[in-house]
Assembly symmetry: C2
Homo-oligomer: 478 residues x 2
């Protein structure tokens, strides 16, 4: 999607940002005194920080801060706390459920200036980065040390943002999500204190797991300013392959059986035939227009060969064709680039369209049912709806490629998405595998966990009694 | 340690339990109406539930309940909440830091009657058990299905207790701790509501991670009554080996290098020469009296062979002798039984002794320094102090084998332990890898996390405003 298409796509669902900042002159003066020209009320900068890559309405914050240290973040939060001004942490702006929309205005804190790699402990396979470091920058830095950080949500998100939304993506089937890969956090609390949630030890039983409490809290309990991560040695052998299937069910069943057998696949991504067609058009690939699995295997040469043999046998049993191999780094990058551009390829199916990526996750035994029933339900709709997913985790996305000039399409997508969430919940699944709740899944979370959400509200009230940290997200407050 | 030795060992550090229950007649009557003869104020039963396997003083609860369902637990908690009576969840009673001691009296809820395996979903590699199921009973149940649950803290603890203390043990280096292996919990809250923290999906970004908040909360936020766990297929090949080293440093460096190379060892346990000597006497084994590593490898035959080749080479480089193999199930069980009885073997070094197992965990790069400095510090002491550890995680234990008649030995152990905790913290480590805070590490937690503990207090106050759930543990309250 090019910039002008993007802009037109959004205009239809954008509430005009208030041109005037509603921040009090006193608050603005204090923030300006702290940050100098790294504090701004410029309408353009504000508007840029109210947009998001989603179907949710944009809304500008009243001001934007660009701190360069945890101390500056803490200073800004203390000023906002004194004046009761909402504070929204902002990374790459790639979240998908309106997670960074300042629904009650306030100060957006853009952390992209905090992009230092604080430490890499090669011997311990861990490292500490400021929240604004992107995953691509981190991996670029790590490559010469023979290390990598596996979590890969597709977008070049910041590590702080990935922690805040409990992101996962293509490597989670083998390496886990941000939940499993964050060792410790530096956090600015709602009253502007700076705390560290844990030490660098690989495991600890030292009190409540505050690290996991902030991971996935979407900035509603505090602002993550530094993240200590597990890192991994680059595997001796990495091998990727593509396999096209006669049926969607055959592709899904292949994955289910591989997981049940315990094959430690590093990545296994499903693209249905609609999505493959979109990728072919967008990335000029010539993949067969069939439901397709993208695999990646990590390990020693012998161990990878073993995994491949098993996958080849299972695929053949389920109507899979030959495995098309990519062993060189170049070929692998080409293959995964095609996968990573799937969202943009989907949007390009319909010039000027807005994308709405759904995100359910079910126990693997129900995955085939969930995808096939969803596909059948979508068949009634004229909206293009490619399906792709991190199927090894039971997680998949339908992308609604919606015409922003036709509100009836949004209404239809909303109905289809609600049914998809209900279907996943009925199968023991969750309303969001990795995108978070934000604004878009508030009702779905209630449907999923009911009264349990009251405990979340109680934790929120305890750690942010003024309700200034990214208010209005995850749940409705009394 | 036999029963009479155990009893005499404890007497020296036991405050006499109040022979009279301090529960009001009204509370007792309500609990008796709910539970019938599964509610008792018998002094013997109360005393039994105030003991623990540690150096901490015993203290009896005022009454003990034996519920058989989550609804009964909720009913009992509601009665206690109305009357402001403390509630302590109790499993196998094998925790080590006074975690279940009713320091303010109240009702101990013994969950061992809730020992049903609710569901095993073989296709999803997960299962749900009541909190009172022990890990050995679970594994017995799973064996015929070709599945196992790897977390193994040594003691035959209950799954609810293991979740509450964030237990780990010998398999954590490969499979993670309870933190990584609990998918969802059923919990009775401090006001007697029943909530479920999550669905069965392998991953989720649905709101705050309440599952991880209750895992490791030591019953201070609510009572876990059901646990949904990840399960694993029994590996095709399991191979165990013992390797004796010329020096403690050589043994530790072998582990450090193996971890840094990413060898997916399933278990790697260190026993120093003092501990090996104790095991030989206790279990009638004839292991060489040297620092020794116990290894276990899981995988396909080829993959295990690969791992073994690497370990053999690293061991030889670090003064390790031949690897002594145990491939049959019987031989492996014998070998691991020797390891698992290490604590009792240590106690038997000194008849009538009380054991005090310390528990620090450091980044792996500092493990050799931490163990060697600790060993040097211990050399000044006359107290027997075997060292053993889950060294793949950077976690190890010194067992102080203390004469309960000599309070000066407790004082000395306390000083040595404090220095060990300080040493671990100075190296970026944690005061507890797996035993939890309980009563014994309250000051250490403050030293480790400082002001961060205030956030834990705030969460506690939010979820248990009356402070009735296992009060007095983890931190001091205002």
């Amino acid at each position: 999607m090019n910039a002008s298409a993007e802009s037109s796509a959004r205009s239809a669902v954008t509430q005009p940002a208030s041109p005037e900042s509603e921040l009090s002159a006193a608050t603005a003066a204090e923030l300006a005194a702290l940050l100098g020209d790294r504090f701004t009320q410029s309408p353009a900068v504000r508007a840029q920080h109210g947009k998001n890559e989603t179907y949710h309405a944009a809304r500008s914050p009243d001001a934007v801060a660009f701190p360069q240290s945890t101390e500056e973040v803490a200073g800004a939060v203390r000023i906002c706390a004194r004046h009761g001004v909402p504070v929204i942490a902002y990374g790459a702006g790639t979240s998908l459920e309106g997670n960074i929309t300042p629904v009650r205005g306030g100060l957006t804190i853009d952390l992209t200036g905090m992009n230092r790699i604080v430490a890499v402990n090669e011997a311990d396979l861990d490292g500490t980065v400021e929240a604004g470091v992107t995953r691509e920058d981190l991996n670029l830095h790590l490559r010469d040390k023979g290390l990598f950080f596996p979590i890969d949500p597709g977008a070049n998100a910041t590590i702080g943002g990935m922690a805040s939304t409990r992101a996962s993506g293509t490597n989670a089937v083998r390496y886990g999500t941000m939940r499993e890969n964050v060792l410790a956090l530096k956090v600015v609390t709602a009253d502007g204190r700076i705390i560290t949630t844990a030490r660098r030890a690989r495991k600890s039983a030292a009190g409540y797991d505050l690290t996991r409490l902030f991971v996935g809290a979407e900035g509603t309990l505090g602002i993550i300013t530094e993240v200590t991560l597990r890192l991994y040695g680059i595997p001796e052998t990495i091998s990727a392959a593509v396999c096209a299937f006669d049926s969607l069910g055959g592709a899904v069943d292949t994955v289910v059986q591989a997981i049940q057998l315990g094959v430690p696949i590093a990545r296994v991504e499903l693209l249905d035939e609609v999505q493959i067609d979109a990728v072919n058009r967008w990335a000029k690939t010539d993949l067969a227009c069939k439901p397709t699995l993208f695999f990646e295997f990590h390990g020693s040469e012998g161990h990878v060969a073993e995994q491949v043999d098993i996958i080849r046998a299972i695929s053949a049993d389920h109507g899979g064709g030959d495995l098309d191999w990519a062993t060189s780094t170049e070929e692998r990058n080409r293959l995964w680039k095609a996968r990573h551009q799937a969202y943009y390829a989907a949007l390009a199916l319909r010039p000027g369209a807005t994308g709405w990526s759904t995100d359910v996750c079910v126990p693997i035994s129900r995955l085939a049912d969930c995808i096939l029933e969803t596909r059948a339900d979508l068949a009634q709709s004229a909206i293009p709806t490619p399906i792709l997913g991190h199927v090894g985790d039971g997680n998949f996305h339908v992308i609604f490629v919606v015409d922003p000039e036709r509100p009836e399409e949004f209404a239809e997508a909303k109905r289809l998405n609600a049914r998809m969430v209900d279907r996943a919940l009925a199968m023991g699944g969750t309303c969001t595998g990795e995108h978070g709740i934000g604004l878009g899944k508030i009702d779905a979370l209630e449907a999923e966990l009911g009264e349990t959400v009251d405990l979340m509200r109680a934790v929120k009230a305890a750690l942010d009694p003024q309700n200034i940290m990214n208010p209005g997200k995850i749940f409705r407050q009394p």
